[in-house]
Symmetry: C2
Subunit: 153 residues, 2 copies
DNA sequence: CAGAGTCAGTTCCTTGAAGGAACCATCTTG
DNA sequence: CAAGATGGTTCCTTCAAGGAACTGACTCTG
């Protein structure tokens, strides 16, 4: 990955990027979310180099985003599953999908549609305030220093 | 950046990554959003190499995420501002912040707090369904092929 | 029971992007 | 007129991504 490590910055964006900011990581997450759990399937589906896939999977397991489950002993074989931490990361994917659908899909329209279980309709995500439930966009907020604002040293 | 180009994939996640998936791009977007508009300020604040900053800014302008505005002729000097397309990308940053605050902030607490204009409260973003307004998580949906599902060739 | 196939890696080499420092060009200020 | 500010550009080094071949442990088929 990049040489500059983002993990140590006092910024939740940088720290999130440290976990899934490397190329391929969000796409691996997407495929695991969509039901692809095994090394060979992931490699073929993505067209990613086996070396990089190994590195990414190990990193994501180390970070607690994915978990390995043994589905065969002799030979030992693991599949990769989302943890709670990883499942919440998928929210990020939904927002990326929304932006990509709006701004990059063009005339062809969105490549994938999303049907919400609760209402059964084809829909997309919207961002709302956790307090008042009104829409909350980046332009609707003020930034204030929080308790973790000071760098560790 | 990575050698494999994501932009051509029939996937809105990959296409979004093609625009801001490279290292530094989301942090540049964050700083421009937070009010840092000039080259020198961005470079110092991020600690990014000047070469890479030049490349990223040009790419983001080319993609229509940032716009250049001349604030001085003789010598020609531009500042970088968000477009509508870029402003909507900042929604992604809010979701990254939310995840980073929950899973990486640790005991120190979140480094930045967000006050929603509409209600004045410190809050965070939640994902809701655009149709029924109920919470919408990655686990609450089915995926269906959309009109743009077929690769261009 | 030999040979092919599956699966999950590992190793090796090449290429190209990131880091970092120095340099440049154009103005402004003291 | 020398410094400083500003926004780049150039150059070199280092390290990560791509890609192909190889390994090792099994299983399946004739």
């Amino acid at each position: 990955m990049q040489r500059t490590q983002f993990g140590a910055m006092a910024c939740s964006i940088a720290r999130t990027l440290d976990v899934i900011g490397e190329p391929w990581s969000p796409l691996i997450l997407r495929d695991v979310y969509a039901g692809t759990h095994r090394f060979e399937q992931l490699q073929r589906g993505l067209g990613i180099s086996r070396k990089v896939l190994t590195e990414r999977l190990n990193w994501l397991v180390e970070q607690g985003v994915l978990a390995q489950r043994e589905y065969s002993a002799r030979p030992v074989r693991h599949e990769y599953l989302l943890t709670d931490k990883g499942r919440e990361l998928c929210d990020l994917l939904l927002v990326m999908v929304r932006w990509g659908d709006r701004w990059t899909a063009g005339d062809a329209g969105p490549p994938v549609l999303y049907r919400h279980h609760a209402c059964g309709k084809i829909s997309h995500v919207e961002l709302r305030c956790s307090e008042c439930e009104q829409p909350m966009r980046a332009t609707d907020i003020d930034l204030l220093p929080g308790p973790g604002a000071h760098p560790p040293s």
